[in-house]
């Protein structure tokens, strides 16, 4: 599974309250996505184009169980690549069918606007501008299968647990 897209950069310890603000709890899904990063980067959600990629520092997604991954996916983000990802958030990414990869040092390898090429099964991230290629923690085939299916809900539907 190879993903290519334009890079937006976010720093270390980006928390779930920033990704999925409390204000998004009580509004419809189409309104929720407008609130992503509204506290730390107002207006950003409007600038996102389908297929864009998030490159972040360490500990992305620290915080609560609210699934920021699903908002990023609905917003059109094609993939998250971070130096490290909070364990609960990483589970949310895979379970909601939002591609993500942990890749040490990836933050320093990109400038905003660069094009990233990500191979999830190989665990590699390439900067098209510099040609630099980094290796992170490759996803397993079953994780990629979950991503391709669109997330756990789709797997449950296939198994007859959901309508």
């Amino acid at each position: 599974m190879i993903i290519t897209g334009r890079v937006w950069k976010f720093g270390n310890d980006i928390n779930t309250d920033l990704i999925f603000p409390h204000a998004a709890f009580r509004v419809p899904p189409e309104e929720q996505i407008k609130l992503v990063f509204s506290d730390n980067r107002p207006g950003w959600a409007k600038q996102v184009q389908a297929g864009d990629i998030l490159v972040a520092g360490r500990n992305f997604g620290t915080g609560s169980s609210r699934p920021g991954a699903v908002l990023l996916k609905r917003l059109g983000i094609g993939c998250l690549v971070a130096n490290s990802i909070n364990g609960l958030f990483f589970r949310n990414c895979i379970s909601y069918g939002f591609p993500s990869l942990q890749c040490p040092n990836v933050f320093d390898a990109f400038e905003e606007g660069d094009i990233a090429i990500i191979d999830l099964l190989a665990g590699s991230v390439t900067n098209e501008r510099t040609g630099q290629m980094l290796y992170g923690s490759a996803l397993s085939e079953s994780m990629v299968d979950t991503l391709k299916a669109g997330g756990i809900d789709e797997l449950l539907r296939d198994k007859g647990y959901l309508e």
């Binding site: 310890d13 909601y96 942990q102 085939e141 449950l156 647990y161 959901l162």
Partner: protein, 441 residues
């Protein structure tokens, strides 16, 4: 699923035994995961499918739109193992929350979930899992809230899942886990007067930072000197250092706590004497002091209270799954007995459950706190998650015993949340400025 989320360094630290080398023993987390996966031996990096003992969700699972397809569920694996606790927004502060409550009750009825703790018999989910005897030694618990590691104080392996993983667990009765490397905190000594479990955690977070993709365990003779409530405070807060599991051993104190609560049989786990730890860190409890977490993050961002003394606050908050238990309210009541909360300061007290509320009422703690000028609220996650009952406005600072101090956590983005133990919060309520509780007569 075969999943590998470990980076190169971690894989090296938890390598397989070489040929002829003795297989290493297991940590507590490894033992509980192995038992629930039907395996003799597991090691860091292993992917396991585990049967879960309890799968619990709170009201936000039903209230927040677009997270799950729970209303499309045809069947769930084991209704007797599913629990619903209403805690975040109860009694409903908005009609949206009221609708969430309706959906939760409808779901429970449709699927035969009888363990539902509704308004009037409620409390914060982590407190309720412990208080009502679900969190027990050796159990594996999945719960749709990040502070689920709280149950590790009771020798359980518990961790938070998002709504999709919780739905999967409810439907199938199991989920996948990857065994993480474990950090051991070996404790000696006993905490000094006015120093609490929360201070132990803030010390750990401040000195050692986070534990991303790792488990945390506690051991050593010092554990016996921590109350169960203090252990719950520490284990709860380990979500803030991103620990996967945070587990305390089982001892007589824990067995005493569990005796009249346990809803079923249980099997305590202890680490093997040759358990392999990623790192062992020793802490002498007797050397600790009161700590404060500075805004807007906890790891690597905590200071002894003496470093920030004198900073003015507009609100103090005592409560949450971390510090809303009887012991916490007792500490505050002792400090505020016969005294008044400083002019210009609002003190909010939120018991962790209805039972804590009632016990504190009977013990006279609530009377003492209200006489001092505090507002006692209903038992709820309330202000802690930024929902209701005690939010702060622009430019305000709150010193809180709650779990999280993210920017805007308790209110507007230009407000500040600092975290501390109940004694520090109570002492600060008296002066209106961050105050070392050891200096309060």
């Amino acid at each position: 699923m075969a999943i590998n989320i470990l980076d190169g360094n971690q894989q090296d630290a938890c390598r397989l035994p070489m040929k002829g080398e003795k297989a290493m023993g297991m940590t507590m987390a490894e033992k509980i995961l192995a038992a629930h996966a039907g395996r003799e031996l597991v090691k860091p990096g292993d992917i396991l499918t585990c049967k879960v003992d309890w799968a619990a969700n709170h009201d936000m699972f039903f209230t927040v739109g677009g997270q799950t397809d729970f209303d499309k569920v045809i069947k769930i694996a084991n209704p007797d193992r599913c629990i619903i606790f209403l805690d975040h927004a109860v009694p409903a502060p908005t009609t949206k929350d009221a609708e969430g409550g309706i959906k939760a009750r409808r779901f429970a009825k449709k699927h035969g979930i009888t363990k539902m703790f509704d308004v009037g018999d409620h409390g914060v989910i982590h407190q309720m899992l412990a208080e009502r005897g679900f969190a027990l030694p050796g159990k594996l618990i999945a719960c749709g809230d990040s502070h689920t590691c709280a149950a590790g104080a009771l020798n359980s392996a518990a961790r938070g899942f998002g709504p999709a993983d919780m739905l999967y667990t409810w439907c199938t009765g199991e989920n996948w886990y990857q065994v993480a490397p474990t950090i051991l905190y070996e404790l000696t000594g006993a905490l000094p007067e006015m120093v609490d479990g929360k201070d132990l955690f803030l010390y750990i977070a401040g000195v050692y930072g986070d534990a991303i993709n790792k488990n945390v365990e506690f051991g050593g003779e010092g554990v016996a000197n921590l109350s169960i409530s203090q252990r719950q405070s520490v284990a709860t807060m380990c979500a803030e250092i991103n620990a996967e599991f945070a587990i305390f051993p089982c001892d007589e104190k824990l067995l005493d706590y569990i005796r009249d609560r346990a809803v079923e049989e249980f099997t305590p786990v202890a680490p093997d004497s040759d358990a392999h730890y990623h790192e062992i860190r020793k802490i002498d409890l007797s050397r600790l002091v009161p700590y404060v977490a500075l805004p807007h993050f906890i790891p690597d961002n905590c200071q002894p209270v003496t470093a920030v003394e004198g900073m003015p606050v507009q609100q103090v908050l005592l409560g949450s799954c971390s510090n809303g238990r009887l012991e916490d309210l007792a500490v505050a009541a002792k400090i505020l007995q016969g005294k008044k909360v400083a002019s210009g300061v609002r003190m909010i007290v939120t018991p962790a459950s209805q039972r804590v509320y009632l016990d504190a009422l009977r013990a006279g703690y609530l009377e003492t706190l209200v006489e001092a000028g505090a507002v006692v609220t209903n038992a709820t996650c309330g202000a802690c998650y930024g929902g209701h009952l005690g939010l702060i406005g622009s430019g305000e600072r709150c010193l809180s015993t709650t779990t999280r101090n993210f920017k805007g956590r308790l209110g507007t983005p230009d407000s500040e949340v600092m975290l501390a133990a109940p004694a520090t919060v109570a002492a600060t309520a008296l002066t209106g400025k961050i105050t070392d509780p050891r200096n309060v007569q």
